[in-house]
Amino acid sequence: MKWVPDTTAYDETFDRAAAARPHYRPLVATLESFTQAEIDRRERLQKISLVDQGITFTVYGEKDGIERIFPFDFVPRIIPAREWERIEAGLVQRVRALNLFISDVYQDQRCLKDGVIPPELVLSRREYKRELLRVTPPRQIYTHVVGTDIIRNDRGEYLILEDNCRCPSGVSYVLENRNLLHRVFPEFFTRYPVRPIREYPRLLLDTLLWAAPRASENPVAVVLTPGIHNSAYFEHSFLAREMGAFLVQGRDLIVEDSYVYMRTTGGRQRVDVIYRRVDEDFLDPLTFRRDSLLGVPGLVNVYREGNVAIANAPGAGVADDKAVYAYMPALIKYYLGEEALIGQVPTYVGLRKDDFAYMREHLAELVVKTTGDSGGYNMLMGPFAAKKEIEAYLAQMKKAPGSYVAQPLIELSSHPTYVGGRFEPRRIDLRPFILYGETIRVLPGGLTRVALREGSYVVNSSQGGGSKDTWVLAPRGS
């Protein structure tokens, strides 16, 4: 077995002397006990299993074979208990602050008045929903489910890369990856106290029902999906099935007299909580986008009346803006009086004149993103871009400096990954999932995405990324 430690980035598995780090030693030893042929056989088994189970996502803009499997790499990423404790505390702190921030933006806007964050940066965003000013969601929770992306720099420090406060996806792969690894490499688990993750659907259901407006009766929670053609449809149906909740589309719901009902074979049935996996702009054609066919006319009115909970609350997207991100350490301090427990990547905000001047001069060193897009679309990777590409991008930037942010390129940590019959280092990140119900809970681990192309930094599933099982180890003696 040949291992190739990464020399440019922080290698999760091997130290600088190319020796396995203590928490990876049993895994490396187990893998070394297999023959190449055996490993290849297991890998084939795993691929067949994915296709047979229809664990797929949809790639937009591809005509043929639009259902694709999300590639899975069987070498698990391992996080020691002590490291996870710090990540978990940092995430709980961050989500609490995010929720307070959103709540403030839609109530008194203290943070704007106190100058913690420039008002134009918040109020001019498409994600800021003026229609929802002074509307209080049930239990004042906006961010029921958050997916926060974390990376590690070349020194191995964990850094927050971005927050997803609207409809973070990927958790079904977290659960399925674990199932798959159990089946394909049961040997891995014999020497590690891996914290279980199977209860996520139950925790999610608890989180949703906690927000139900009529708590006394039997509240009904549904998962709202745009439908089978959405890239995350597998996950929507997976979660509905695991929670025993109805999976509904916009046309299944109807608003009458300030309540939401679903159309059933036995007539109409009231709905209390909507776990919406539909972009908020499409939620209600009467309030947001008029051309939306995915939404439910009048839904936002019911929400305003307090007769339905929507998770995540419409308008929550104002907090996961890439420019707001730059102010998160200040916001955490402002609302909680604490220093942020997890660091983040230095960010230049195009809205600030000095920052924009710096961005113009240093584009070739920076990663530039637009504030609206996600999924790795429409970004510039300065260090890898041709001069022409940079110039074209700059011309675009000048038209709307305020919609761009830039960050120095972080050498994402890398992890041995089985590619083409060899273990090679590939860049990874981590998306933990945080649930805000009666308390704030973090699913141990999360989705480790891996850039399967050599040297690539882009881990998104839509751009050639794959994923790994992510292990959080239980503390010793527990």
Binding site: G54, R241, F246, L247, Q249, M262, R263, T264, T265, G266
Partner: protein, 315 residues
């Protein structure tokens, strides 16, 4: 349950049943035409042409070459052609699409079975199989895959409304299609003279029973005797054989009755038909009234289908 989901599982049941039906008809017709084409080419030809009456909107491409066996064009067209709305490929794809659109309402086992069966079938289509033995082999595997799917549904589904609507789709499709098979085959069979060619005559009746998956069930009732006066009433009125019209209508009626809520027009239509089949006087089995009766069965199933849509799916 959600109306949209009820609609999807109902269609899933219909398409699954249809897939199994077409697969069986292809296997049986291929057998028959291989056996008879040297003896009586016309008879073999018309057995294939009957498929176009049983699946009225089917589109079948002409044979690949003049030397190809006559079955080839029909086999390819009804088995693998993705654009023929009555091919196994098309039907199973639709069943899987419906399954996928309501995956949360199905059991994992049922979804896996249908997904695997379709993927194997799609593989045959992509490879462009044309060789009749290879097609037969693939048809046989597909048939097993379909039975695995149906078995997974039987063994894992909770008997709730989803299951009821699925079974309703299945039994309605089955009854409807059985009536169409009989409507297509009986007139010519009834007019044929046994004395002309006794062996061929009985092969045709045996093939009819096989085409409706009923040969063994018939033998259990009547032994090896193969008399038209016994076969027709068996296929129409037998209370136990799952592909008789009576059994099918009974199933549709039973599932309709079990759906919670007020009974609707579909149940009235099917209930009346069921009474006729259960308390028949034997007359419709013979001669002149036969065709009209079968047309009425087809009609009732179409009307029941429409009534279901209005009552449950478009709320």
């Amino acid at each position: 349950m959600l109306s949209r989901v009820a609609d999807a599982v109902y269609w899933m049941g219909r398409y699954l049943e249809r897939s199994e039906n077409i697969t069986r008809l292809l296997l049986v017709t291929e057998d028959f035409s291989t056996e008879t084409q040297g003896l009586a080419e016309q008879v073999a030809q018309s057995a294939w042409k009957d498929l176009l009456a049983i699946f009225p909107a089917a589109q079948v491409a002409p044979p690949v070459s003049a030397f190809a066996p006559m079955s080839q064009g029909y086999l390819v067209g009804f088995f693998l052609d993705p654009s023929n709305p009555y091919s196994v490929h098309y039907s199973l794809r639709k069943a899987r699409e419906n399954a996928r659109s309501v995956r949360e309402a199905l059991t994992v086992e049922a979804f896996l079975a249908i997904n695997e069966t379709f993927r194997a079938l799609d593989g045959y289509a992509r490879r462009g199989l044309t060789d009749p033995p290879a097609l037969r082999d693939a048809l046989g595997s597909t048939h097993k895959g379909l039975f695995a799917t149906i078995g997974a549904i039987e063994h894992t589904f909770t008997r709730d409304e989803s299951w009821l609507f699925l079974k309703l789709g299945e039994s309605l499709e089955r009854t409807y299609r059985t009536a169409l098979v009989l409507r297509a085959k009986l007139p010519a069979l009834g007019a044929a003279e046994p004395r002309a060619d006794v062996a061929l005559y009985y092969t045709q009746w045996r093939t009819l029973l096989r085409a409706l998956g009923s040969l063994e069930n018939y033998r259990r009732s009547y032994g090896a005797r193969l008399e038209p006066e016994l076969v027709v009433p068996f296929l129409l009125f037998d209370p136990h054989s799952p592909r008789s019209l009576r059994y099918g209508t009974d199933a549709v009626k039973t599932y309709l009755e079990r759906i919670p809520g007020e009974p609707g027009p579909a149940l009235r239509l099917v209930g009346r038909l069921h009474a006729e089949l259960a308390y028949h006087d034997g007359l419709v089995a013979a001669g002149g009234e036969q065709a009209a009766f079968l047309d009425r069965v087809v009609d009732v199933m179409i009307q029941a289908h429409d009534a279901l849509g209005t009552q449950y799916f478009a709320t």
